[in-house]
């Protein structure tokens, strides 16, 4: 094959424009496909991140009171609600909280290790819940103990109480105390009263999934509090009972007290929560996927088109070569090598473009650096695409009969 390269190059010089166009198209396609594949991988990784909770069996109900209630009244209502919810057949457990994992936005709290420290050591998501919280969400306690009922206090919005004890996630424990000694230690939530870590749970995703919160992914803490006022009931159904629980729960709550507001879109299972939380990731991955496929198809079609044109243009020369003793294989390999040369040229330029495009994304959109694997995959993909696209016209060229040499057109 080697000796053919020189004549191919001199032939290419005769139709520079077409060759440059194919190379350019290959380069741009490579740049976009590499970055698109990388974006897809990142988004898919993001949206398949585990939450640490028993998603298939959880239901969230947003509840607000229509009346203005005193703290005591609201707490009494709340406890009555919880009692009702925990009685519903098919309900494994229920809890009231200020938020739920992957809600989209929520409460984060700067944490320090001493009261006079001014820069935060951690920025975890804060969950409020009673001794049922861990069991309801299906989170695994890996060290220490759960809250005791007597540690749980009601709290109204904007109320001051720094709870004496807290349960943290392993991610937060490791962040605050990298040596693994978190259990029993005191931490400060930007206040002068300390909170003691009495338990550590395994995984518990934060409330927001935005970039700023993802810097503290899985760093969450739970305070033993029952939030009165606007709050979320979280229910864990027994396996297979979620639909039935969903039916019964809202009815039971209204039967308990009808001066409340539960919107239609305020009752969510985790399929819905996940969908809302990862909507943009899912959409982005899909858009990039569609663009990749269409782009590769169009580039392939373009190569087929131009190569066919060249074959058509050179039928006579092909005939002459065949008449002078070139085999079909020689002709086939001529066109395949020609395509390979053009594609390699395009790919080299394309790698540079892909890196440039990635750098632009890194500076403007907090994306990660493109890993080499994607470049390699992209290069391979386009080389194969080029060869695949050139194959049909090249085969057609190899079938040109030597008689063509004698024809005048």
């Amino acid at each position: 094959m080697m000796p053919q390269i020189k004549p191919i190059l001199s032939a290419l010089r005769r139709h520079k424009a077409g060759a440059v166009l194919i190379a350019l198209q290959t380069a741009l396609t490579l740049a976009i496909v590499c970055n698109a594949l990388f974006i897809i991988q990142q988004r898919v990784a993001h949206l398949s991140a585990p939450s640490g909770i028993d998603e298939p069996n959880l239901l969230v109900i947003e509840n607000t009171w229509a009346d203005k209630l005193s703290k005591e009244d609201a707490d009494a209502q709340l406890r009555a609600d919880l009692a009702v919810l925990r009685q519903i057949p098919g309900v494994h457990d229920a809890v009231v909280s200020n938020a739920y994992p992957m809600r989209g936005s929520g409460w984060d709290q700067f944490i320090t290790l001493t009261p006079d420290q001014t820069t935060a050591v951690g920025d975890p998501a804060v969950y409020l819940g009673d001794e049922h919280f861990i069991d309801t969400l299906g989170v695994k306690l890996i060290a220490g103990r759960n809250f005791r009922p007597d540690e749980v206090r009601p709290i109204a919005n904007r109320e001051s109480t720094m709870p004496p004890v807290t349960i943290v996630t392993k991610a937060l424990a490791d962040k605050l105390f990298p040596d693994g000694s978190a259990l029993g230690k005191q931490i400060y939530a930007m206040s002068s009263t300390p909170t003691t870590i009495i338990g550590i749970v395994d995984l518990l995703q934060t409330q927001s999934l935005a970039n700023w919160q993802m810097r503290s992914a899985y760093q969450s803490l739970i305070w033993p509090m029952r939030i009165v006022g606007n709050s979320y009931y979280i229910l864990r159904a027994q396996p297979g009972q979620l639909a039935a629980v969903r039916q019964a729960a809202v009815k039971a709550l209204y039967a308990q007290n009808r001066m409340r507001i539960i919107n239609d879109d305020g009752v969510l299972d985790y399929t819905q929560v996940r969908q809302a939380a990862y909507d943009s990731d899912y959409g982005m991955a899909m858009l990039m996927g569609i663009i990749c496929v269409v782009l590769l198809a169009i580039t392939a079609a373009g190569i087929v088109g131009l190569t066919s044109f060249w074959v058509g243009q050179r039928r006579k020369q092909i005939g002459v070569r065949r008449a002078l003793g070139a085999t079909r294989h020689d002709i086939l390999s001529y066109f395949m090598t020609e395509n390979l040369l053009i594609t390699v040229g395009g790919v080299i330029f394309g790698v540079a473009l892909a890196i440039a495009m990635n750098l632009w994304l890194v500076t403007h959109f907090e994306m990660d650096r493109l890993s080499l694997i994607y470049l390699l995959v992209g290069v391979l993909l386009l080389l194969l695409l080029g060869q695949g696209a050139a194959l049909a016209p090249a085969v057609r060229a190899s079938r040109v009969s030597p008689i063509e040499a004698t024809r005048s057109v």
Partner: protein, 442 residues
């Protein structure tokens, strides 16, 4: 001649339908991808109040100090109660309003079958309505004396008025919000700027897009009634667990948005100086232990700073444009092949006396018929794509994207122009054909 060239073009396109279909499809897909992403981008990056975007400004001041700033060197995105009240009472701008988002339960008058429901809106001061050009169906907003008198007045939105009063003029009627009775003084017409530029801080919804607000009550009254913010709050280094409602009001958590209207550059400069002086006073009084750090952004600067356009939208627009670019390069190649295949024909035409200009014209017209076909396919694909937008962008954003006449026209114009542009090089090559050479080889 023009009609003849169009005819020639169509005939030539029919001659190799496969190549033509390929070009038309490339242009159609390329232009459709660009138009779909552009329509989303256009919907969320528009200026929501063009006639006033220079005059409305957000005062910001640094109450947390450099150590606790959430964004590097930037003051908080909203104000504390202390600062909001001080700046509002100072009346240093032509108009000023402070407000925060509230979600209130609407309790229907005659218990009966109707159950209470939640509505969100704002606890604001009276200038709010005039500053943001809120349109009124009935009545109007309240004035400063109502603010100062802590009046029990409310403005409701058109949708809520439909729901409660069947659309009748409800000015003067009473409305019960979370157990407190207010007299309705105004009913706004549908008003829902997108993005909701004036409240980018407290909105939990995606990129400043949510349901239109339906309730407005005086700020002073809301504070009296201890109505908690329904929006976001941010506490920087301060504790978010303050000592009750009073501690919350005195604390350093920010949760109140403020806008001022300043009509001339001189007024802007004066206000900026006033803000600096205020921060200096706070420094002197010992509340701030750092030099004044203030901002006074206008609407467009504010939208930019708050990153209203989601990165997804920008990235997809850029990728779609790149995609369109590749489609055009593809088209250049294919047109080149197509035109050069007809070199003998060109040679004959030139030999029979057609000028280069004529050749140019003929091939550019042929290219624009391809562009037109691509544009029509693009419109079709864009229409189909609009249904798919909901799968790609968040529903709130997808709702904004729609196909209107301007987008259809734009799609076709862009397709034709781009194709003609792409055809320049192939056409030039075609016009360079030497008649003698072509005739000889035949």
């Amino acid at each position: 001649m023009f009609g003849y060239y169009v005819q020639l073009g169509v005939r030539s396109l029919k001659r190799n339908p496969w190549l033509t279909a390929l070009m038309v499809m490339a242009i159609g897909f390329g232009v459709a991808a660009s138009m779909i992403t552009y329509s989303v981008f256009r919907a969320i990056s528009g200026n929501p109040i063009p006639e006033k975007s220079e005059r409305l400004r957000v005062p910001q001041l640094d109450n947390w100090g450099p150590e606790h700033a959430r964004a590097l060197g930037e003051p908080a995105e909203a104000l504390t109660y202390t600062d909001a009240i001080a700046l509002w009472k100072a009346h240093q701008a032509r108009m000023q309003t402070i407000f925060y988002e509230v979600t209130l339960s609407v309790i229907p008058e005659h218990g009966g079958s109707s159950v209470p429901f939640n509505m969100s809106g704002y606890a604001a001061t009276g200038d709010f309505f005039r500053m943001f050009d809120v349109p009124f169906l009935y009545g109007s907003g309240w004035n400063q004396s109502d603010d100062e008198g802590h009046a029990d007045v409310a403005v409701i939105g058109r949708d809520l008025n439909e729901r409660l009063f069947k659309g009748a003029n409800s000015v003067g009627r009473e409305i019960n919000l979370r157990g407190h009775s207010y007299r309705i003084v105004g009913v706004t017409d549908h008003w829902d700027p997108k993005p909701r530029y004036f409240d980018l801080f407290s909105m939990f919804t995606v990129n400043g897009i949510g349901d239109a607000s339906q309730i407005y009550v005086p700020f002073s009254k809301a504070i009296d009634l201890k109505l908690d913010t329904g929006g976001r709050n941010s506490c920087g280094g301060a504790s978010s667990l303050n000592a009750g409602w009073d501690g919350w009001l005195r604390g350093e958590c920010v949760w109140i948005s403020m806008w001022v209207q300043l009509d001339t550059p001189a007024e802007v400069e004066r206000y900026r100086q006033y803000l600096r002086n205020y921060a200096e006073q706070m420094q002197q009084s010992g509340r701030f232990q750092w030099a004044p750090n203030v901002r006074l952004r206008n609407v467009t600067e504010w939208l930019d700073y708050e990153k209203v356009v989601p990165p997804e939208s920008r990235i997809s627009l850029v990728v779609a444009l790149g995609f369109f670019g590749i489609c055009l390069i593809n088209t250049i190649g294919l047109l080149l092949a197509k035109f050069m295949r007809r070199a003998p024909e060109i040679g004959v035409r030139r030999a029979l006396g057609a000028s280069r200009r004529e050749v140019y014209l003929q091939f550019l017209i042929e290219a624009s018929t391809v562009g037109l076909a691509g544009g029509l396919l693009g419109v079709l694909l864009t229409t189909i794509g609009m249904f798919g937008v909901g799968l790609i962008f968040e529903p709130q954003i997808a709702k904004l994207a729609h196909l209107d006449v301007s987008l259809v026209v734009l799609t076709i114009v862009v397709a034709v122009l781009a194709t003609v542009l792409a055809a320049f090089y192939p056409t030039w090559k075609a016009a360079q054909v030497q008649p003698a050479w072509q005739l000889k080889s035949n």
